[in-house]
């Protein structure tokens, strides 16, 4: 566990990810999952993490809320670029359905056993995942033609 600007952050390994969220939900009362997102640390800049968790290219970030007493928690999971798979949280928090689709759509992370992992914001025939850092911005193919000859 680390603290980021006074906010509590958990860093489970990928294998322990679902079990951690389940334990948080069932034992510590984190019943509301408000957000699932991901960050692409392409060049893996140094970031805060406990010993034993190696930084990888992708990081999935889940925001949880408990009510009794009110408490917030973030869960950050490291995913290597070669194998960007993560089990879905859908069985625990059905509300992550749209968020995991969004992360898949924009970041290209596969959530195993997700019921309907399709693109949600981009068109379905879109190629690539736009929020990745190696996805170029503003490369609309432009065809240059020779200037018309002067008369």
């Amino acid at each position: 566990m680390t603290w980021s600007r006074g906010q509590e952050v958990l860093h489970p390994a990928r294998d322990a990810y679902v079990d951690t969220v389940r334990r948080l939900k069932e034992e510590e009362g984190f019943v509301l999952c408000v957000d699932v997102t991901a960050v692409d640390y392409l060049e893996t800049p140094p970031r805060e993490r406990p010993d034993g968790i190696a930084p990888e290219r992708f990081e999935v970030v889940v925001a949880l809320v408990a009510f009794d007493p009110p408490r917030r928690l973030r869960v950050r999971v490291q995913l290597p670029a070669s194998d960007a798979h993560l089990p879905t949280l859908w069985d625990l928090h059905p509300g992550v359905e749209a968020y995991e689709r969004e992360v898949y759509d924009l970041m290209g992370i596969i959530f195993d056993d997700h019921p309907d992992l399709t693109r949600i914001l981009m068109p379905e025939d879109w190629e690539g995942h736009p929020l990745r850092k190696d996805y170029p911005v503003g490369t609309v193919p432009v065809q240059f033609k020779a200037a018309p000859p002067t008369r």
């Binding site: 906010q7 692409d40 970031r47 925001a63 059905p94 359905e97």
Partner: protein
Amino acid sequence: MDQPAPPDVEPDAPADTDPIWLGAVETSEGAQELSDRSDTDERLLAVERGAVLRLPEGASLDPGDVDVETPEDETMIINLGPQHPSTHGVLRVMLELDGETVLRTKPVIGYLHTGMEKTAEDLKYMQGGTNVTRMDYLSPLFNECVYSMAVEKLLGIEVPERAVWIRMLMMELNRISSHVLFLATNGLDMGATSMMIYGWRERELLLAFFERVTGLRMNHNYIRPGGVAADLPDDWRDDVLDILDVLPGRLEEYDTLFTNQTVWRQRSEGVGIITQEQALALSITGPVLRSTGFAYDIRADFPYLHYDQVEFDVITGTVGDVFDRYAIRINEVRESMRIVHQILDRMPKGDYRIQDSKITPPPRARIDESMEALIHHFKLFTEGFTVPPGEVYVSVESPRGELGCYLVSDGGSRPYRMHWRGPSFANLQALPVMMRGGLVADGIAIISSLDPVLGDVDR
């Protein structure tokens, strides 16, 4: 010149040359189709909540409630939207209908997606406000505030007292303007067209005040990292008091028009019910969650700014139907007015933005007389300020629910990653639950009662 011979058209042309049929092929979107009814196995039938959403069995609806055994050839799939006046923008909803009863619902979004999260990675922290304020365009000040709070948390700075209270004032007035617009569109969707005009009339009061303070009616970029862009005008207190004088009478008119009116209540009571367990499981926040009786309001549970120093009630409903969601919003307008009254009493004097020339630009007059101020001004508007590395998640209670901003900095002058937790995006997941078993006409009321802003959904 020879006229080309007319093509040989047979009276019964094959399907692949029929222009209408061809058009249908072009617009069909493979994976966005509802799956075949025959694909639904026993387990899915029991947990079915629409093609998008299959709740775990515990929280699911009793299949005996609705005739889900209807064979496929008796159901019909229609598209509502994206060009439909009741879909509040470009929401497309696929409905599976048995007669006029809705079975499955699938919201299809993305028509307004412009990649604002990607854009944010190219904008300096100072410029980011102009980007985020356009997301949820009915509550721009909330977007700016949550963004600014995230940047300030990364910077580790505190904004001056007056800036905090100005932010609260502007946000509560923005909440009123957003809610009266909800009342307007909600009325219009349900056939009370005069309400449309009343709601816009009241919103105009608020927008006129915003224009006096920020210079713009919408998309203000007024709340910025470090404080607010400008101090309140001299006579702001009279303007706010004028608004607060007018609104209570208008709200009573709404009560006459809606709350105590039989037709309205019959149209909205018991329609689109969602339970507390379902709402929590589906990450629903805001008035929709509170309508189920769950009092989650970030202002009360995780106080930000100075919400722990003002008194207000968290309005909750009991049934979780369309009427509750209407009643909560009209009462939240009253609570916001109560908060604004307290803000008027407590507004301190002082700076409206932090006096740190590394973060906020110096006053214009200083530039003419101070070399240092000129350098700071130049550096801020060319390079921007750098933010120490780190990541934060900050959220505020927007009129639609939890509005969150996840911000990652790599130590540069632009965000490394900005993620927007839009409340409308998650709240749309409630549609399949709320619409199941209802009528299409109720569906219009239900979409309206969610108060989705598609700019916030698609970003």
